[in-house]
Each structure stands twice: as structure tokens, then as C-alpha cells.
């Protein structure tokens, strides 16, 4: 069954959608959208380093994303605004990555494959990495769920409940680094953030509790992955961007649903 490249691509897309769902929710709730982008951009440096040292791209990306996540967490709240820090580090890492790639003469690198992903070339080993990473992210999220929610609501409430918000932020950024490393093969550096944000944002109008929103985001992300894959096969379009287009269409539908519901019920002002 795994010998069919479409099956492998579908499984890879599903894995990324599942890992992205709970993470994406926290990114939306904590207004960290830029963080996903920044970690993904920094991943380009990881690609360059791993190609230069002929190690696996997954390992290189994971190390650089983790470093980036740790550095930003350490430096935040020390005189720089978060978006400034992220801007400095993400674009420096991206620029250094692109420069480093240009030094790698002799190796012909398809940069496009890393910028936009190459889901159709996912092999069995890639699948193992993707699903291993997804499992790890999901375990981490399930384990820290309550503590993460409390820190997201209010740091002081978290402290009073014996939860350290700083530690939870670290957990979240580590999980994010893992997710970026896993997803780079599927959607590429430029579109990873969209897999985080679009399904979560689309799930918001359909949800009354955080848990429902995470599950809905997983459903929407999975539908986007599978339908995008199918559409790209039929229309012969690049797969990664087609998946993101499918997610964007689902987001538009969910926004429409919200708009219709609001006009029909006329929610009272508060």
C-alpha cells in the first residue's frame, strides 16, 4: 500500500495536519502567528547546514529550529519586543541560509523543493519521521494541555495554580520547532505557517471550547490536505500550494458561516 506515492503523500499530509492542529490553536490564541513563520524561515539555515555536512535535512532543520525557539524564548522580555526579535532572527537565519546554500558548489540543490515542499516525493523513511514527529507533538500537547491553556489565559492565574508560564512557553516553542522540521518536506518553508494558522482560524467559529477547536482544526486540516492533494493531481498544480489553497477555501466557508449566524441571531451587545 505504501508503494503508491499518492498514498504516501496523503499519509504525510494527514500527519502534518494532525500535529499542526493543537499547535495552530495555541498560535492563534496567543497571537503568535509570526512565530511560526519565523521558525520556518530559520529552517532554511538548517537545510543549508545539513546539505553542507551531508546529514539528514530533518536533523539540520530540527536543530536550527530548536535553537531559534530557545533563543527567542530566552531573549523575550529583555528589552526587545517579540516581533522585533523574531524579525531579526528569522530573516538573518534565512539570509545566512541562502548565502550558505550558494557556497555549496557541485551539489545541485532544488531550492524550490524546500521553499514549497515536495510532498509527492515523500519516501517511507520520510513517513516514519513525519509520523514519529506528529506522535511526539501530540503527546507533548496532551500532556501539557491544561498548563498551556492556563498560561495562555493569564500568567498570574497559572502561577497561582502552580504552573510556570515561562516553562509552558518553552514547551510550546519546542513543539513548534519539531512541527516545522516535520512539515518542511510536505509544504515547504514558505507555507508551513499557513498549515498552522488556517485550519485553527477556520475552526474558531465552529467551536465552543478549546478542545473542540483543536479537534475541528485537525478535521479541517485533514480535509484540506486530502482535497488539496486530489485537486493538484487532477489539475496538475504544485501540491503544497494547492493544499494551502484548499485550507484557505475552508477558512472562507467557515467565515461565511459565522457571518450568516451572526446576522440570524443578532447577538446582544456587551
Amino acid at each position: 500500500m505504501l508503494d503508491d506515492f499518492m498514498i504516501r503523500a496523503a499519509l504525510a499530509g494527514l500527519g502534518v495536519a494532525l500535529a499542526a492542529a493543537p499547535l495552530g490553536c495555541f498560535i492563534v490564541w496567543r497571537r503568535m502567528a509570526y512565530f511560526g513563520d519565523a521558525t520556518a524561515h530559520a529552517a532554511m539555515l538548517g537545510v543549508a547546514i545539513s546539505l553542507a555536512m551531508s546529514t539528514s535535512v530533518f536533523a539540520g532543520v530540527l536543530v536550527v529550529s530548536l535553537l531559534m525557539a530557545l533563543l527567542v524564548t530566552l531573549l523575550s522580555g529583555r528589552g526587545y519586543a517579540m516581533d522585533t526579535l523574531l524579525g531579526v532572527m528569522a530573516h538573518s537565519a534565512l539570509a545566512f541560509g541562502l548565502v550558505a546554500v550558494s557556497f555549496l558548489s557541485g551539489i545541485r540543490i532544488d531550492l524550490m523543493a524546500y521553499l514549497f515542499g515536495d510532498i509527492l516525493s515523500v519516501g517511507k523513511a520520510d513517513l516514519a519521521i513525519i509520523w514519529g514527529g506528529t506522535a511526539l507533538v501530540l503527546i507533548l500537547m496532551a500532556w501539557r494541555w491544561s498548563a498551556l491553556l492556563m498560561s495562555t489565559l493569564n500568567p498570574d492565574l497559572a502561577h497561582a495554580g502552580g504552573v510556570s508560564p515561562k516553562r509552558e512557553q518553552l514547551v510550546l516553542t519546542l513543539a513548534l520547532a519539531l512541527m516545522v522540521a516535520v512539515a518542511i518536506k510536505v509544504v515547504g518553508v514558505l507555507l508551513i505557517a499557513s498549515m498552522l494558522i488556517l485550519p485553527a482560524a477556520a475552526a474558531r467559529p465552529l467551536s465552543r471550547t478549546p478542545e473542540v477547536m483543536a479537534v475541528m482544526a485537525a478535521v479541517i486540516g485533514s480535509v484540506a490536505s486530502l482535497s488539496g492533494l486530489r485537486a493538484s493531481y487532477i489539475m496538475d498544480t504544485p501540491t503544497g500550494p494547492t493544499i494551502v489553497c484548499a485550507a484557505a477555501i475552508l477558512f472562507a466557508l467557515s467565515s461565511l458561516f459565522r457571518a450568516l449566524r451572526h446576522t440570524s441571531t443578532e447577538t446582544p451587545a456587551h
Binding site: 490564541w29 491544561s146 491553556l149 489565559l153 493569564n154 498570574d156 492565574l157 474558531r204 471550547t209 478549546p210
Partner: protein, 240 residues
């Protein structure tokens, strides 16, 4: 034995001390009101007591196994986060539905369980926060201007509910408030902050003290409300 005891606390930001030489014991069964002008460090003291703000020096000892409930001054719930009141009450621990309803009843918010947090008014939100804080049966309940957003009748009712909660849970309550008169009626002890604890004692004792009157500009002997400066420390004005 005190539930929580602070010794020689200094609390400050960026090397600037906000409060110095703070010694405070909080015992089961009392309702302690922390009073002081804006910026006198009431909220910072509460945050230090719950462990959210490390003191610059001094130490805090807690009774082992102390359960703390905290009602923050402001809690902004982002509209991107869907959250019903019942779900919010169960952070971090799950509880049976009857317990949730009981806490909501005690806090004076019986009908709010199914509502979304982002649709609550300020006063309703404060009651939900209170319900959440008492759900774990705390030994120590800390409230930071929890009556804001309530009208006068609402505030009176709120303090009556606090007294009932105190009796029902046999806990200690620390409350930061600006409703001088009302909080003085409910409190069993009052501590006034301005750089340090300038005076403390039973509400009647403190209300008669010059420090208290000058701090809040009430009938100060000179006829002028106090603006700034250091006030004499009365270590002996504790409640008998």
C-alpha cells in the same frame, strides 16, 4: 500558625524598591484588606504572595500543602479563544457538574455556566473568576480589586458573599480594594501600604489612625490630603 508569612520582603522593579520591610502573617479565619493609593504596590504584593513575582529580598514561608485561590485584577480573554464558563472553571482540574454549580451559586453567578467567557460583562466575569478560585476549596483566597465593574449594591452583596465563603471554607481572604467604607465593614484586619506597611490592625483601630487618614486624604489634621512622602511606621499597632 500562619498560612503564609512574609519576612522583610522587598519588592521592586529594575532595582527600584516599591515596597520595603514588609512583614505580614496571614492566618486562617481572617479577612485582610490591603489598602493604599494607586501604585502603592498592593497588586505587586499579592503577586509576590502567589509566587508570580519573585521578591528582591526577604522570604515567604507557606504552610505545606497550602491551596491558594487567586482572582486577578484584570483578565483579558482573547476572542480567538473559545471558552465556556463551565470549561474555564475546570482549569486545571475536572470537577463534577454539581460542584461547578455550587461554586457558581456561592459566587453569585448561578446562571452563567453555559455562557462564553468573551460575552460576559465585567461584573459577571469577576463572579466567574471568584467561582473558579473557590472551586478548589482554597485555604487562602486572594482577590485583587475583585469588586470592580460592580455597582454599589452589587459591591455590598459581593462582600456579603465573601463573608459567607470565608465561613463556609474556613479560609483566609486577602482583598485589595478601593471601596474603603465597604471593605472596612467586612474585613477583620486592615493593612495600609505606602512604601511599606504603614499601619495595620482592626478596621476600627486603623480608621482612627493618622497614617490612614492622611493616606486617603480623610480629615487629615492639616486639612490637605497627603500627596507623597514617607509615613511613620507603627510596628506596635497590630491588632490585640
Amino acid at each position: 500558625m500562619a498560612l503564609i508569612a512574609a519576612r522583610n520582603l522587598t519588592i521592586g522593579f529594575a532595582g527600584q524598591p516599591l515596597l520595603e520591610q514588609v512583614n505580614l502573617d496571614i492566618r486562617r479565619g481572617e479577612i485582610l484588606a490591603l489598602l493604599g493609593p494607586n501604585g502603592s504596590g498592593k497588586t505587586s504584593l499579592l503577586r509576590t504572595l502567589i509566587g508570580a513575582l519573585p521578591p528582591s529580598s526577604g522570604c515567604i514561608s507557606r504552610q505545606s500543602g497550602l491551596v491558594t485561590g487567586y482572582v486577578p485584577q484584570r483578565l483579558h480573554i482573547d476572542e480567538t479563544l473559545p471558552m465556556t464558563v463551565n470549561r474555564f472553571l475546570q482549569l486545571p482540574n475536572r470537577h463534577p457538574r454539581e460542584k461547578l454549580q455550587q461554586a457558581l451559586d456561592q459566587a453569585g453567578a448561578p446562571a452563567l455556566g453555559a455562557r462564553q467567557l468573551s460575552t460576559l460583562s465585567g461584573g459577571q466575569f469577576q463572579r466567574v473568576l471568584l467561582a473558579r478560585a473557590i472551586l478548589e476549596k482554597p485555604d487562602l483566597l486572594l482577590l485583587d480589586e475583585a469588586s470592580q465593574g460592580l455597582d454599589y449594591a452589587g459591591i455590598r452583596q459581593f462582600y456579603r458573599q465573601l463573608e459567607q465563603i470565608q465561613q463556609a471554607l474556613d479560609c483566609a481572604i486577602v482583598i485589595v480594594s478601593h471601596d474603603l467604607n465597604l471593605v472596612m465593614q467586612s474585613a477583620t484586619r486592615v493593612a495600609c501600604l505606602s512604601g511599606t506597611i504603614v499601619c495595620q490592625g482592626s478596621p476600627d483601630t486603623v480608621a482612627g489612625m493618622a497614617e490612614y487618614q492622611s493616606l486617603f486624604g480623610l480629615d487629615s489634621p492639616s486639612g490637605h490630603p497627603a500627596t507623597a512622602g514617607v509615613y511613620p511606621i507603627h510596628p506596635n499597632c497590630r491588632e490585640a
